[in-house]
């Protein structure tokens, strides 16, 4: 399990770098490293489906993010002078950790999940759905309704992006009574 710790610590370092470095392009690249670390962690945790999806999704979102940051004369990110949000941010993190330390003994031990419902998927998945990839059998048969929702979220996001990038949202007013008095 050492590799898990190493990967996680690298991810944390990467995300701190991504958030603190002054150049936007560098921080996006650092985020790419974090995403790659996440993908490797999924592989270590025996989740190949998730790893593949995470990898390609990460590539796509990094391309879009780089597209957003590739501009001429983009100034370095200014920091400092914002003491209050910093205190809130750090305070939130510390409180979260303290609460989490209190809570984690209630969780099942790491590496020993309860597998109440999932045991059924493991035992009966092939027989009942015919899919040898059990994750697929869950996605598209046992819990296919979630997948419909997920497809719809992506649909809504694509429509939303297309709606947001319109240059003109309103038609020109031609009515006589409509006098904006500004």
């Amino acid at each position: 399990m050492v590799e898990l710790y190493i990967l996680l610590i690298l991810m944390i370092i990467g995300s701190v770098v991504a958030l603190e470095v002054k150049d936007l392009l560098s921080s996006v690249v650092a985020l790419g490293a974090v995403g790659l670390g996440l993908c490797l962690t999924f592989l270590v945790l025996k989740a190949p489906d998730v790893a593949i999806t995470q990898l390609v999704v990460e590539i796509l979102s990094i391309i879009i993010l780089i597209r957003a940051t590739l501009k001429k004369g983009l100034p370095m990110v200014a920091t400092g002078g914002w003491a209050f949000p910093s205190v809130i941010g750090v305070g939130f993190g510390v409180v979260l950790l303290l609460v989490a330390i209190q809570c984690f003994p209630d969780l099942p031990k790491f590496g020993e999940p309860m597998l109440r419902v999932s045991q059924h998927y493991l035992d009966q998945g092939l027989k009942q759905t015919g899919a040898t990839n059990l994750v697929t059998s869950v996605i598209l048969d046992f819990r296919a309704f979630d997948t419909l929702g997920e497809v719809t979220v992506l649909f809504a996001a694509a429509l939303g992006v297309l709606a947001v990038v319109r240059t003109r949202g309103r038609k020109k007013l031609e009515q006589a009574g409509a006098i904006a008095d500004e």
Binding site: Q102, C103, V117, E150, T152, L162, A176
Partner: protein, 500 residues
């Protein structure tokens, strides 16, 4: 499984199919998107009215998606509270779809607008009928993503800015909710809400469950704009086109916030005295802060948005009391506020449509130019402010009586004070917009087109007669089954799993 349960999936499928078809061919045929949206919302309203017939005798219908029994597959649940919310949401959505057919002529890309509206509606219906925690999250995200895009629909700079702020805070809220779901999954190893409730039976006082409660409170509180988490609402709601403002303020914050919070806290995690105290405190805080902030606004829609924060506070106070009367009051106020606040936003849209501004200092004397808008606006204001014959009065009265009965005199006093302040606020607003000397600038103002008038009149009539819901017979059919869900609490699990 009951045969009538086959009704349930259509609440999600119909708007989804309409949205897909709309974006496939809606852009090519003129007038089709509007027609499709009106037909869809009308059929959904019909479906939800049919559904009220099935829960009359306090039955709970469960649908097994894919034919898998609930802990294995996804369940959809139809019980009293579900039906109540479905009727509220689809009623408001129908009025808004009719209103938008005229109003959205001012905007470009109508097909896209209706697709997003229908997606948001299907997301809300999905949240309401969800019997599975992750399913609830997924549909919540559909509604949320569609609403982020709709807030920015005008693509002016302040709209984009409000949408960005809303999207960031909404996404963080969703992350909290997802984290809470992960924690619950790890201790119960199931996602079905009923099954989860049974699994949690012995460990409701663990630290972990407390942390999950706090996460859900933050997540759903962000969606419902409870006071410490309300910063996005006064920007986002006024920035959207008027029908969407009405949808967001009228039903979205209640579905994603109030309904989901109640469902999870009452039926899954279990309602504790501490939670009750927190909900009542936050509700009262929202009530007071919302109305005080609304006082100083010049922008009509921004004022209405602050007032929404205040009125959702009433709902939380009523539901947080946990007594039968308080819950009836809270749920009833939810309905009243949905109807009258949507109507007020539609009125503000009509005023903006006719005059091009929503600045209270500039407007004035519109009563004679816009009689329908003026009259409906008067009715809605009186209902929100709590004047006797209207629904808003009865629901606030119930909440206040319940608070007194439960011994929370302080909260009852605050509720009365806020009610008086709301009355003063809306009287001022009405005077500023509709009464007074008609200024010469507004001589050319005409009343808004017919379909906008029709939908405003329908909502105004509803807000006038909604007090009748408290009549014994009607109450048994509509409000009583809804509140029974709260009172049965975690017994919900036996009801759902007993049906399997």
């Amino acid at each position: 499984m009951n045969q009538s349960a086959f009704l349930i999936p259509w609440f999600v499928v119909v708007p989804l199919a309409a949205a897909f078809v709309n974006s496939l061919i809606g852009g090519r045929i003129r007038g089709l998107p509007a027609l499709l949206a009106c037909l869809t919302t009308f059929s959904l309203l019909g479906l939800s009215l049919v559904a009220t017939q099935f829960v009359r005798i306090n039955t709970t219908l469960v649908y097994h998606v894919g034919g898998w029994k609930p802990p294995i597959g996804i369940a959809m649940v139809l019980d009293g509270f579900t039906v109540f919310m479905l009727v509220t949401v689809n009623l408001v959505a129908f009025a808004i779809a009719v209103y938008a057919t005229d109003y959205m002529e001012r905007y470009t890309s109508k097909a896209m607008f209706y697709s997003l509206l229908l997606l948001m509606l299907s997301g809300m219906n999905g949240v309401i009928v969800a019997g599975d925690l992750f399913n609830l999250f997924v549909f919540l995200e559909i509604a949320a993503v569609a609403s982020y895009a709709l807030v920015a629909f005008g693509t002016e700079r302040h709209e984009l800015e409000a949408a960005f702020k809303y999207a960031v805070m909404g996404t963080v809220g969703s992350l909290f909710i997802l984290l809470g779901i992960v924690f619950l999954y790890s201790v119960t190893s199931t996602l079905n809400m009923a099954d989860m409730s049974l699994m949690l039976a012995g460990q409701r006082d663990h630290n972990l469950i407390l942390m999950v409660s706090v996460l859900f409170l933050m997540g759903f509180g962000l969606k419902a704009a409870l006071v410490p988490f309300h910063a996005w609402l006064p920007d986002a709601h006024p920035s959207a086109p008027a029908p969407i403002s009405a949808m967001l303020s009228g039903v979205l914050i209640k579905t994603l916030g109030v309904y989901a919070l109640c469902r999870i806290f009452y039926n899954v995690i279990g309602f504790t005295p501490m939670l009750s105290a927190i909900l009542m405190f936050l509700g009262t805080l929202s009530m007071v802060v919302g109305v005080l902030l609304a006082m100083g606004q010049r922008d009509l829609k921004r004022l209405l948005a602050y007032s929404s924060i205040s009125q959702v506070g009433y709902v939380f106070l009523g539901i947080g009391l946990g007594t039968p009367l308080g819950i009836v009051g809270g749920v009833f106020h939810l309905f009243n506020h949905s109807v009258s606040k949507s109507l007020l936003f539609l009125n503000s849209g009509a005023v903006e449509y006719a005059t091009g501004t929503r600045d209270l200092k500039v407007l004035g004397g519109l009563r004679e130019k816009m009689p329908i808008t003026g009259a409906t606006s008067f009715l809605a204001s009186m209902s929100i402010a709590g004047i006797p014959p209207f629904g808003g009065f009865w629901s606030k009265l119930l909440i206040i009586i319940a608070a007194v009965q439960a011994g929370y005199l302080g909260y009852a006093l605050w509720a009365v004070i806020v009610s008086v302040l709301t009355l003063a606020l809306f009287v001022t607003v009405f005077k500023d917009v509709f009464l007074g000397e008609p200024q010469h600038v507004w001589q050319g103002v005409k009343e808004v087109p017919g379909r906008m008038q029709v939908s405003m009149i329908v909502l105004a009539l509803l807000s006038m007669v909604s007090g009748l819901l408290l009549l014994p017979d009607v109450k048994e059919a509509f409000l009583r089954p809804a509140t029974a869900i709260f009172l049965e609490g975690t017994h919900y699990a036996q009801v759902i799993l007993g049906d399997i």
